[in-house]
Symmetry: C2
Subunit: 485 residues, 2 copies
Amino acid sequence: MVKNILVYEKDHMKTLPNITKNFQDWYNEIIYQAELVDQSPVRGSVVIRPYGYAVWELIKKDLNDRIVRTGHQNASFPLLIPESFLKREAAHVEGFAPELAVVTHAGGKKLEEPLIIRPTSETMIHHMFARWIKSWRDLPLKINQWANIVRWEKRTRPFLRTTEFFWQEGHTAHATYDEAHEEVLTMLNEYVDLAHSVLAIPVLTGLKSESEKFPGAEKTYTFEGFMPDGKALQMGTSHLLSQNFAKVFDMKFQDREEKLVYPYLTSWGTTTRLIGAVVMVHGDDKGLVFPPKVAPIQAVIVPILKKNADNQEVIQAAQAMADQLKADGIRVLVDADDTKTPGAKFYHWEMKGVPLRIEIGPRDLKESVAIVVDRLGLAKSTVPLDEMTQHVSQLLSTIQKTMLERATQKRDALWFKEAKLSEFGKKLQSQNGFYQTGWCGDAACEAQLKEYQATIRCLLDEKLFDQCFACTKPSKQDVLVAKAY
Amino acid sequence: MVKNILVYEKDHMKTLPNITKNFQDWYNEIIYQAELVDQSPVRGSVVIRPYGYAVWELIKKDLNDRIVRTGHQNASFPLLIPESFLKREAAHVEGFAPELAVVTHAGGKKLEEPLIIRPTSETMIHHMFARWIKSWRDLPLKINQWANIVRWEKRTRPFLRTTEFFWQEGHTAHATYDEAHEEVLTMLNEYVDLAHSVLAIPVLTGLKSESEKFPGAEKTYTFEGFMPDGKALQMGTSHLLSQNFAKVFDMKFQDREEKLVYPYLTSWGTTTRLIGAVVMVHGDDKGLVFPPKVAPIQAVIVPILKKNADNQEVIQAAQAMADQLKADGIRVLVDADDTKTPGAKFYHWEMKGVPLRIEIGPRDLKESVAIVVDRLGLAKSTVPLDEMTQHVSQLLSTIQKTMLERATQKRDALWFKEAKLSEFGKKLQSQNGFYQTGWCGDAACEAQLKEYQATIRCLLDEKLFDQCFACTKPSKQDVLVAKAY
């Protein structure tokens, strides 16, 4: 038995790289150590292990409820798309061509036309929309698909950029431009609320510049997250496709005046990348920190066991507490493993990011109390057993709120306002960060950011700067410049 | 407006082929007419439309709860599998080779090793298991994956056999043969209970013969459904893989005696095929009939609207009733479209298989009642509004039960007991059915069934027959012979 304890403690007490000094290494270590993912034998694809997949299931449940509540219906479209479909919209195929995985043989034969594993489903879904939309009465058509996607990325990193990933893609068709535009903003707002109230991640929204928008879209709205290393993460997008795709897929409907016209289309999506955002934004030197709403385990109960003693009473009390918490909808686990020390367990569940730990020993039990410790280090408190459920619920909600506040503070500390690239370009080289500045709107000025591996993350509604960051022309509106994942 | 009514009625009042005389045509028509699926531009792949996908979501929810309750954890493994992986287990690759879809190019280059779109994930998951299983403490390992699968089938039919389909695949590893065998039976029993209590489909379970078992398995248990046209449908399987795959993937663990040994593996799965089973088993000449537990809409409320009158009161009453039913967890829809006649609506929702219809007109409203009609034709009743929720709940549960009874009767009427193929072979040619008979266990005798396009669906626990159906050798146990989808 001693042997196993040692193995356990050695396995899980591997030192994590310092998160401040070496954020990348910390990320690349914690996702494996916490068993969120594992490496797969296929280049750029990961295995999402149960602990990581549970986070995705929680995000998915919350987001799916939003998608249904806003009047969309789930459906499913083929994984494989005829190559010719992707070629119909010129900008679309140009944008995706370098990343495609191609099925050339199937059923023992060479295919007449190669099939592409979907890098996104606009072309397939628009083909179907053209079959379904005949009259104004068929609109709006609001469909969503939860699916796996393949894009052959050159550099990959688990969750953030993988060859295969999971997402939802919403696709809608509307009778008017305004209605389509409203849809794009409605879903963008749902994403923002998901980020804020569920993932505890402050995000910024805005339009993408022409060079960064979705291939084939008229407008792309993004919601960008701010990582603690000063790099931005595009967490998802909402596109106004307008009538481009409707035209190439010959999607027409008879309007109320009996004229044949093209509908206005939208698409919007977010991905398993959100898990990576949660890991990066909230993690610390001890490991993961999960916001309670997406924590696979919200509270772990550790009965304090005595050697060579009958621990049944304490274990039973822990189990009874767990049953009570579960009845209140709290995701709870009792760690009664008698081969591990309490210290090893504390370390383990902190590393795994469980928001609350509850310790109960023989002495606590006599006094009908237990010790509650939170992962953020807010306070350690002695709680009467009969107040436990209420206490835990309140504490989880406090933690959820505090995590958003802390993440917002971290972001603000990295948010700089700078007039000229000649100034902040130097800073970007030594310290990443989010640089609010002015822009004339010219692609040539935007292109100068490449030298710093930075991009315009989005256009802002504010206008603090009168002049472009690169030239002397007037600025149209502020933009946010940063390096990005 | 008149025009639209006509369009609607014409669209939805297409005559269905007679279900008794022409079951295949009926199936091929109703799945499109009821908007469960649509044809896609990719050979053998279908689009599952919202009404069909909702059925899958309901099945998935119920089955996922069972999978979690029995101690399994969801995870996700790559879509693409290196070709060499599939080749490791000889029987496995031989079984799947003719059906593979192969990615040869990706990211603009030819791949060094082709990748296969998973036809099942044993090889990928066992590769990962070999990384994760080191000690007896890591066992049992019980993983499930919800995924899409591609098998290049020669003949396809929506839901029943498609190139791409959805399923769950459970994969587990155990320290002993007995424990693995128990797992196989536990999950088989969950499937059976799902079929009986949720899908209202009576199924039979048993072992597959050697020639029909899963490529690479030691034993395959099946659960077979009985379709009204006398053909069997394999609804899912549960495999005892034993140690074969563990050996080829070098999956070893240190047992309690510190010896390195191979674990015993299982896998089990069921698919979107279940939707096809529900359609076939319960449908009638009017269209679909959904068992309440998987009905996307359990009750449709049709307010009876008067022409040129103010219908607000009736519509509000219908809406209030819907809110009440929803609060009780009933899936309900109000069809208040004033461009359709009540008759057209009745026809439409009967065709769509909604278990209950509630009609409420101005006169009913005055008397505080509504008319409840069930899709099975059990009874039409006048129900006081304040008893509606209770009445609907009870009626849905009666319908659920009655549907299983009716399906069982239909099956029994097609269940024949026959000693010799020379007799029932002739019958099989004129009338499909399920033929219980004896079998010596020889593959040569089994092969004689091919002439009748029939197979041994499974081995039975009964032994009514002393002699083999084909030869004069003694029968080991009864078997069930039928044609199959």
